[in-house]
């Protein structure tokens, strides 16, 4: 033991206090909303990387647009659009290394695609088909629908990676509502003890469905919570893709060096929480408009134009290609054979216990005896 290990003694209550800041902490930003930037501060990325990032942002938009349309037509289940968060989503996943993992929470289609998930499987997932969660050749874990529950699991996975000596990080993704759960707090606290290679990536889009950030927590930021749990915190302007990309790379390095990081990307969802949500009930048109003027695509484009990198980008044909990719993925999803009713029963345990097997056989016999039961069974959504 030493005095230092428990903290020095001081006759000043102020010096021995932690206080909430008056203002939200600053966000790391490289390109201003008006498109201006300081050349020296911008990370040196090659042209292909820029084009790749821009293409993925377009892909995110196309997927969101098409998924919502399919949902409206009854061909898709509930869907969570990432419109407005394209920079936040793509900047993070784009900066990860090939061997890194992500644990998504749903509003990050392009991140899952970047990490290797097939677009067909993304369609199948939102159509409610578990087979989408096989993730062949993708470093993606199944979407954490139960808020915050994935964070302790992500810590365990990162712990395993560390024990294996892997040169890779676990990127656990979540929204600003998740840290209100015990799961996130327990997981991050443990991460701080274990020093696992994890980047906890919070897309703070300011609303958890209808709950605004100031009603979610008394803290001025999510990133500051890192201190309580023994982690580092970084706050970034989530609508500036170059800032997100650079912050992610640096957070990743810290995590690999033994300090897990909460990376808070402050952004805004321009569309509804999901296709079942009506955001006009809880936020004003003026607010949405304020954020629309700060949306990330145009900011990135203005940077690319200023740098002379835009000339090689044909946005229209990129968008067209993305639509074609989506068309092909949809056709593949439509062709997916969901298998028989044994799919309900056979994945509960490696070896199906007798009772589960009996239930399966009884149900199969019942369906054979009473085919009119199919009148009451509809595999949704329509294909």
């Amino acid at each position: 033991m030493s005095e230092e290990s428990v903290g020095a003694g001081r006759a000043s209550l102020e010096e021995c206090s932690f206080s909430q800041a008056e203002e939200a902490p600053p966000r790391y930003r490289l390109v201003q909303p008006d498109g201006s930037y300081d050349e020296a501060a911008i990370p040196d990325l090659d042209v292909e990387t820029h084009r790749g990032l821009y293409r993925w942002m377009v892909m995110q938009q196309v997927v969101d647009e098409r998924m919502v349309k399919l949902q409206r037509r009854g061909e898709m289940g509930t869907y969570a659009s990432g419109r407005g968060q394209e920079a936040s989503i793509v900047g993070f996943a784009g900066a990860l290394a090939d061997d890194d993992w992500i644990y998504p929470y749903g509003r990050e289609a392009a991140a899952m695609l970047i990490k290797g998930m097939s677009l067909r499987d993304l369609l199948l997932y939102w159509r409610g088909v578990e087979d989408a969660n096989r993730f062949p050749n993708a470093n993606v874990l199944p979407i954490a629908i139960a808020i915050g529950t994935h964070v302790p699991v992500a810590v365990g996975k990162a712990w395993g990676m560390k024990l294996d000596g892997a040169d890779a990080v676990m990127g656990a993704m979540f929204g600003e509502g998740h840290p209100s759960t015990g799961e996130v707090q327990a997981g991050m606290n443990f991460a701080g003890v274990l020093d696992v290679p994890a980047v906890f990536y919070c897309q703070n889009n300011l609303y958890s469905i209808s709950c605004p950030f100031e009603d979610q927590t008394g803290a001025k930021s999510v990133a500051q919570k890192a201190l309580a749990w023994g982690l580092d915190g970084i706050r970034v302007d989530g609508n500036d893709i170059l800032a997100v990309y650079d912050a992610t790379r640096r957070a990743r390095e810290r995590a690999l060096a033994g300090t897990p990081v909460i990376l808070e990307s402050v952004t805004y969802r321009l569309e509804a929480h999901t296709t079942n949500d009506d955001p006009s009930r809880y936020r004003t048109d003026e607010e949405v408009e304020w954020w629309r003027r700060r949306e990330p695509m145009s900011r990135y484009r203005s940077y690319l134009e200023a740098e002379g990198l835009w000339d090689g980008i044909d946005e229209e044909s990129i968008r067209e290609e993305c639509h074609e990719t989506f068309d092909a993925a949809k056709a593949a999803a439509d062709d997916f054979d969901p298998g028989g009713i044994d799919e309900l029963f056979k994945w509960v345990y490696e070896e199906t216990p007798p009772e589960v097997q009996r239930q399966y056989e009884a149900f199969e016999a019942f369906l054979e005896a009473r085919p009119d039961a199919y009148d009451h069974i509809e595999e949704r959504p329509k294909r």
């Binding site: 139960a146 964070v151 302790p152 509960v348 345990y349 216990p353």
Partner: protein, 325 residues
């Protein structure tokens, strides 16, 4: 052959498996340096080092949740929840992740892991330390719930649990952690999960129990036998999945049954057993089945807990009420 207590059998199984499988990790609250509050993990830290044997923060969520992450990554975590009364914080992890990851991913990922926890009342522990909510855990699809009652079974079943391809909740009857010894082989052996043991063969009535309550049940059976009754006593050993064939065969023989568990009666696993007997062997039943169980109250603190727990006289009366019905 060595004479071991039940908690020593737990320790023996952990040493046995850690020695031969590098993937096995043991962690939880106070399990490493201290060897566990019941000493179930004693000696593991010295033997296998702090990469594989660790003390954790006091967070059941972190313990069980991280075990899922390690398990899907290829490790074999055997974690301890210090008292079963503290499993509920980890319930979310058991429900959403541990039990479900295989099904969600169509078998691409699985969580072979063991959550060990001393359960039940009678040891004069503090409030919230004595719960017996196995029925709630057994209700979770994808989870396996093992509840041994003897040292020999404990070693064999714990080794099976650690090698099991899916998550196992291993509830240890702390009431009988040290009450008796029996021969436990030094060598590696396993007992099949899901197989009951007939502890006493008889013709007149089937007594069904598991874990700590096996002992008052066997005592009651002996007392009833002294009075001329011939009870059969079955130790379920695994409650999910349970050994339906052994239970049904016994009912077909005796035509009568009494279930004994310390968990609250309503919604307890006894109800599930009786429902199964009704499905499979109703026409063999000569009398209504009786349940001798904990009351539908929280288990009391140490001063009053003995009122709550089934004891041989209560079990005997339960059996008589079946016979005399």
């Amino acid at each position: 052959m060595t004479q071991r207590t039940l908690v020593e059998a737990v320790n023996d199984a952990l040493h046995t498996e850690m020695a031969q499988d590098d993937r096995v990790m043991v962690y939880g609250e106070d399990v490493a340096q201290q060897g566990g509050v019941f000493r179930a993990t004693e000696g593991l830290l010295d033997e296998y080092g702090d990469d594989r044997v660790l003390d954790t923060p006091i967070s059941e969520i972190a313990i069980v949740g991280s075990a899922v992450g390690l398990a899907i990554h290829g490790y074999r975590p055997v974690v301890e929840i210090q008292f079963s009364g503290f499993i509920p914080p980890a319930f979310n992890q058991l429900v959403q992740n541990a039990s479900r990851i295989r099904w969600r991913t169509r078998g691409e990922l699985s969580a072979p892991m063991v959550v060990r926890s001393p359960y039940g009342g009678g040891v004069r522990a503090l409030e919230h330390h004595s719960e017996s909510l196995e029925g709630a855990y057994a209700h979770i699809p994808g989870l396996t719930v093992v509840m041994p009652s003897t040292p020999y079974d404990t070693k064999g079943l714990l080794l099976s649990a650690i090698r099991h391809p899916d998550p196992v909740l291993f509830l240890e009857p702390k009431l009988v952690y040290r009450t008796f010894r029996e021969e436990v082989p030094e060598e590696d052996y396993t007992l099949p999960i899901g197989e009951a043991a007939v502890r006493r063969e008889g013709e007149d009535i089937t007594l069904l129990s598991w874990g700590a309550m096996m002992h008052p049940t066997l005592e009651a059976a002996a007392n009833l036998a002294d009075d001329g009754l011939d009870p059969e006593v079955i130790d379920l050993r695994t409650i999910k999945p349970f050994d339906r064939e052994t239970v049904v065969a016994s009912i077909e023989k005796t035509g009568k049954a009494c279930v004994v568990h310390e968990a609250p009666k309503t919604g307890g696993w006894g109800g599930e057993l009786i429902a199964t007997i009704n499905e499979e062997a109703l026409y063999y039943l000569e009398k209504p089945i009786e349940r001798v169980a904990g009351f539908d109250t929280p288990i009391p603190m140490l001063a009053r807990e003995d009122y709550y727990l089934p004891n041989p006289p209560r079990i005997e009366e339960g059996v008589k009420s079946v016979i005399n019905a």
